[in-house]
């Protein structure tokens, strides 16, 4: 579980920095500059996906593009590294079950 530092919540530009997006269809809010992985953690979502091999839940581990445990579906495209993509207004982020689906 992660929280934002108070100095950021109360900063004068905090409202302007807010980004509205969705997680599995539910409305959520992040901050401009957040990666998708950070935005998920800030919203209390620690698991991004289930592995194709055993079905185990996984969440971001390295935050630097190395581990590929942050894979999610972003705006319909599967297998994107959540820690390497910035959250954008209106973005639809979906947690990912098993293998990437064909056509996604």
């Amino acid at each position: 579980m992660f929280r934002r530092l108070p100095e950021i919540e109360t900063a004068p530009n905090a409202a302007a920095q807010a980004v509205a997006f969705t997680i599995d269809g539910r409305p959520a809010s992040a901050r401009a500059g957040d990666s998708v992985a950070a935005a998920l953690l800030a919203n209390g979502v620690t698991a991004c996906r289930n592995t194709p091999v055993s079905g185990a839940a996984r969440g971001p581990y390295c935050m630097m593009g190395v581990c590929f445990d942050c894979l999610v579906t972003i705006d319909g495209t599967g297998n994107r590294q959540g820690c390497q993509v910035r959250v954008a207004p209106g973005m639809a982020v979906e947690t990912q079950n098993g293998k990437r689906e064909v056509e996604r």
Binding site: L5, A42, Y61, C62, V66, F68
Partner: protein, 483 residues
Amino acid sequence: MSAPNPKFDFDIAVVGSGPAGLAAAALAASKGASVVLLDEQAEPGGQIYRAVTETPVRDRKVLGPDYWHGAELLGPLRDSGAVHWPGTTVWSVARPREDAGDGHRPIQIGLSRNGSAAMLTVRHVILATGALERPFPIPGWTLPGVLGAGAAQVLLKTSGLVPSGATVMAGSGPLLWLLAWQYLQAGARIDAILDTTPKQNWRAALPLLPGFLRSPYLGKGMKLMLDVRRKLTVIGNVTALRAEGDGALKSVVYTRNGTEHRLPADTLLLHQGVIPNLNLANATGCAQRWDGQQRCWRPTTDDWGATSVEGVSLAGDGAGIGGARAAEEAGRLAALDALHRLGRIGREQRDQSAVPVRTALDRALTGRAFLDTLYTPAEAFRVPADDTIVCRCEEITAGAVREAVRLGCSGPNQAKSFLRCGMGPCQGRLCGPTVTEVIAAERGVSPAEVGYYRLRPPVKPITLAELAALPKTAADIDAVFKH
């Protein structure tokens, strides 16, 4: 790209915009070479100076003065006229076997930018790809809620995020202490630090202490550690660790003096040092060797950073861990040598310009051997027990690797075909060092003899659509497929 396109043709490409890459690109471009600086991150800074231009953490005491030094590297880069392409992943560096018909064989760089692939031609490449956290395989390390300490630091720097529930940090090394200190400054919660530094490391490190006492970091490091020890619960001599939970982390189990203890935890931050991020150098064909002191593979270079591949040099932590200040100076040395090789400066000018840089580099490396020895991770954490997952991508355990060795698997490359270990998208970044050590221990030989994965471009998965959209000359195809 049949006719040379100035937009895709440079004298020098620098891969990585951490301290090494920033310094290298700025110096090379300031001497008139055309330079492109490529990095997959959206902002310059590398790992240490992550988000330095736009971090939401404005209270400067939280990240500390070392962090803000990063901003000083950006002005010279801007003034130098180097072209900077953030958000660009380099997946291949290769020199085509045949020349273009004019006697020249420029190096080709495959990159991915905004979802499409492109090829650059350059005459020299400086790889400044930095470090990654050494894998810390313990039972349960794949549970959501378990992250690297470096990962947590990225969350702090880029997003101002800190843990909120029960938080345990575990492992050893300077970065763990630095993060704990930064969390203290930020008022974040830490329930305990489990220190896994083996007691006997002190005995090995003591003879190296005099060097460390001359180190510029000594004062800083001591103050930071004392601060942390005064204000937080630090539990030393931890010899075994396990993360437990069903689908998410619930508790951390640790062994101290032969007794097991359990701590509730929502977040566990693991760290046992950093190792060179050598995938690109390895896939480019640069020779590498086992470093017994740092217990990792490192590409072989001369004292200018030149590798075994003509036209390819290395700078910074990617060539061996030396820290941010050393990385910066190594970047300058690589740039001077590249300028010399391209005929922009003479040998004498190169050597003379290098004198103050080498002095600064030596100073930055003073005391390093002490830290490397003191913070060598315990064997139990480098060579995990059978039930521990080593390859996160393919979910292969240490036990499965040992079983494969008993069936005749002699090294990491064979482990790939036996087990698919290292075949996942991370391409061995998180299992490679562990697989080498597990096989070496099981066979009773040195890691140097066991070897490492032979990697191939692309070093990061790219989509077929990206590849298909590439303008293809014979040389392009050669660079990607016949390497």
